[in-house]
Amino acid sequence: MTRLDRVEEGLAEARASIREAIRSMNYTSEKPEYFIPKGSIYRNPHAFHQSHIEMVKRFKVWVYEEGEKPIVHDGPLNNIYAIEGQFIDEMENSIGNNPFKARHPNEAHVFYLPISVANVVRYVYEPIMSKKDYYRDRLQCLVEDYVGVIAHKYPYWNKTNDLQEGELIHGDNFNLFAAMSAVEIMDPKMDSGIVSTYYSLDEAIENGAAPVPISADKTTDVLCTIDIMDHLLACEATWHTGHSLAQTVYSCLYLLQPERTSSHALLHSYCKVTRATCNAVLSVVSDTRTHEEEDLFTMTYDLPLSEDRDERCLSMLNAVEETISRQLRACKVSSSKRRVSEDIETLQSNPDLEEGYCKALLCRLRFRKHFYHLLMSMKRPQGRGLELARKHVASCIVEIDHIRKSSEFLRASAQEMSKQNIDNTTASGCQPIGFDASLNSRLSAPTPPRAIKILCWEKALDYYMKLLQDLDIICSYSLDPSLEAAFLFVVKFQKSQPDLVSRAHLQLLLVQDGKLYGRDPIFSVITKAAGLPEGTKNHDIQKNQFMVQLGQLVINLLKILCTNAAWQRRKLGKMLQDWRVTSVQLELAFKEFIEASNSPGTENVCFKIFQHTLAWVEEQTYWIASRFLILGFELELYTAHDYCMVYWYIYVVLIKLCEKKNLRMAMSIGAAKKKAKKKKDSSKDAGMDYQIPAAVLFLQSQMYLAEGLSMMFAALRNEHKVVPPQSPFSTEHEIFIQQFELLQKACLPDRVSYMSFKESTVHANFSTLAMCDYFKEAQRIAKEVKSSFANDPDKMAELRRIEQVAEHNSIALNVICRVGALDPSLNISFTFCHHPFFATAIVKRS
């Protein structure tokens, strides 16, 4: 029997016992089995189990013995390249018997070349100085040499000759994800660990990369400390804008070994409070899960984050602040009286610079203190800390101003010793000591490195100013118990495009313990929003499963509104279906209730709750639909050729929203019997005893604007001014289906289709448009309804914008009609300068 025969025989036995296990649904093993796999996760648990038993029993790896450490038979045992070293270590150094290690090549199933690519890079390639150092030629030579030796010496090399080039990817489980997960070591675009100065933190520290004290000269030491503080602040801002913590804040070597700085009170306290602050921000962002696509933000890779007790970090910071305040006072006294006060040790050695340095340090320390307090206050339940938080916001802003002003002094005093820092992440303009972004790149997942550019110092301060302003807006919110007010507040807040950190804090405030502001139970909030009397808010009907479901939807909606626009739109789109389903289920429950209770009077409480809630749910659903469509403009998802159908859809959604809102409001003011007309022109025939509420008129002005724009784009196309490009693969119909897929799936609105869009736009032309000018109508309503919103500056501003767009478009329409749409000198374009999503036409004649 040859070697190969014996190996094949063993494999045949293994296959037979796997087949037997499948048949008998039982296993055979020489050892007791402690873990019996079961469940649907396995294609066949018995086959899987037996196959594992056979593998453990038979599988042998021959490790070639040729070659010398460290390139062969050795490899890294930690961080991202550890898999190589771990495997070599398991195979070669495992104490006792590794059952998988072949004692003789004749019994082996596979043959292993124990080369460590990571070690080749480390010992052959590094230091990498130029582009040429990335060429894989040397690596290739080494491997080829090794293979040459082995192939020459043993008969096993490439005996099976089975795997052809490119065949690997035909494996069942080799999908795109697997393909893309493979990272080529040595490729600087892909291998995040390749470009690093030091192998470990210890090595960096031994090399003096992060000395403590930073300098024996006290003046230099202070200046360098300030640079570290500034650069850390820039790193933190960069982290907030969506980069990994390890590559930004924790590129600071001083942060990585907390106890190392303990002899340097100033640096130590600053590092401590920075860690505690990062921890606080991190916990809010991960708790609120606003980061969704920004998940880089919350990965911490075991970095030393939370070893500090919060109280201690502040007491230490306070003590340092106290000392420097005294030093500042002392130097002022001594300079005015020209007398050196003996009892206080100065901050540094140059008396001329003492005051400037003290001040520069104080504002930085105080900023940290107030910022930390601010975060702590905002975390307090039910918004109880908001008032205090605002005071800390104000203090932070003052300190930032001081920090900015300190730049002039720091630049001047750093001049002679500075190595110019091109990125200017510090106020002095010096390169900070003790940072190495590449060190942690070996900690992060083995994915290609993400481009990180640390914000410059000025931009970092700007970032904090914006963050503070955004947090201030949140802190000054009145915690209005009306749900609609909360929705509108979030939507308005989002307009300034706040960053992740402030959005997370807003969400934390809005939803806590499943209650609005952690205070108002969701059912009571819904009854209030639906215009039900106060007495209904504790009604037992809240236990109805669909009411519970609705409560969950409201909470989810609040959370989704706090996410970034891209994520928000996708989530809102998906959510529409849930709202629609819930509304249908509520309607059914309502009907069942009516039947079961033998037509209760309309004064019945349950009847009222169902009726009002249902109307409110429908209104909300259309509100979400309109927000979904409008967000498309902000995200630039529509091209000019889509505008016609997009405005048309906005128009049909707004009709329904007006109708539902009108119905709901009519109900709550007790006018429910006069069912509002479904037609949008109900204003004309609603009679004298019912007036359309201002909130509905407000929406109507937008609705007319959308209708006008849709018709205008349709007329432009119909009269051949603007013809969309004809795709060889699809038609306008497919574009319509795709654009409004989620709305159509949820039947929003019912019976609206591409057909109805075509019907209403196919005959649009300028002469009829001018006759019934939707823009004029929009303008008229906006003007009329203004008086009702005198106390609402946001609505007033929107009405003014609507008026502007409507007026411009109305004029444009007239010009086009007068000149004739086909006139070649006519040049029509659109701009969003007056309104974020209603386009304004610009007509020029060349």
């Binding site: 490119g166 393909a179 490729d187 993400r450 630039e636 998802l637 091209t639 038609t731 574009i735």
Partner: protein, 175 residues
């Protein structure tokens, strides 16, 4: 040596389907030069070995000046084509080479029974966005910080017509 490419006639460009391992370095070089995302050789092989009929190369006087790499398969109950990489070297742009390459792939996908085609493009890549828009793609989603360089992406989608839908609704409006 810089060749003047202004006078290149469309007929001088030769298009070929992926023909084997000798094409692989050509594709890899082009993509590596022109696209921001890095791909390992496994990724390239995954595409070109499994769907060689969907990958095309454009040659001018024997020089590879453009390529498209694609896949197709089942995705959430739809049979979907996916355009993974599309590259034309800078000096050859604006001559319809990319459109021709991608059109060939899309045709193959359509003939193979795909219901739709998707891809991602950087929001800043105006040229690509215009090209795909002309072919009937819509911007279905925006993907926040999608690329390693921190830029957002648009997920673009092209839906092929389904015959049964069309004779119902389009006929009365055909011009």
């Amino acid at each position: 040596m810089e060749t003047t490419t202004k006078e290149i006639d469309a007929s001088e460009i030769e298009y070929v389907t992926y023909g084997g391992e000798h094409h692989l370095p050509l594709i890899m070089n082009l993509v590596d030069q022109e696209l921001s995302e890095p791909y390992s050789i496994f990724t390239y092989r995954y595409f070109v070995y499994l769907w060689p009929q969907l990958s095309f190369l454009a040659f001018h006087n024997g020089k590879c000046v453009g390529t498209v790499v694609c896949k197709m398969g089942e995705h959430r109950n739809t049979f979907r084509g996916y355009i993974a990489m599309l590259v034309v070297i800078n000096s050859y742009r604006g001559k319809g080479i990319a459109t021709e390459l991608v059109t060939r792939s899309i045709k193959m996908m359509m003939e193979s029974g795909c219901e739709e085609v998707t891809l991602e493009a950087e929001v800043t890549n105006k040229g690509a966005l215009a090209l795909y828009s002309r072919l009937g793609f819509i911007r279905a989603k925006r993907l926040f910080h999608y690329y390693l360089n921190g830029v957002d992406a648009f997920r673009l989608k092209l839906l092929f017509p389904r015959p049964e839908l069309h004779h119902l609704s389009d006929a009365p409006f055909e011009e």
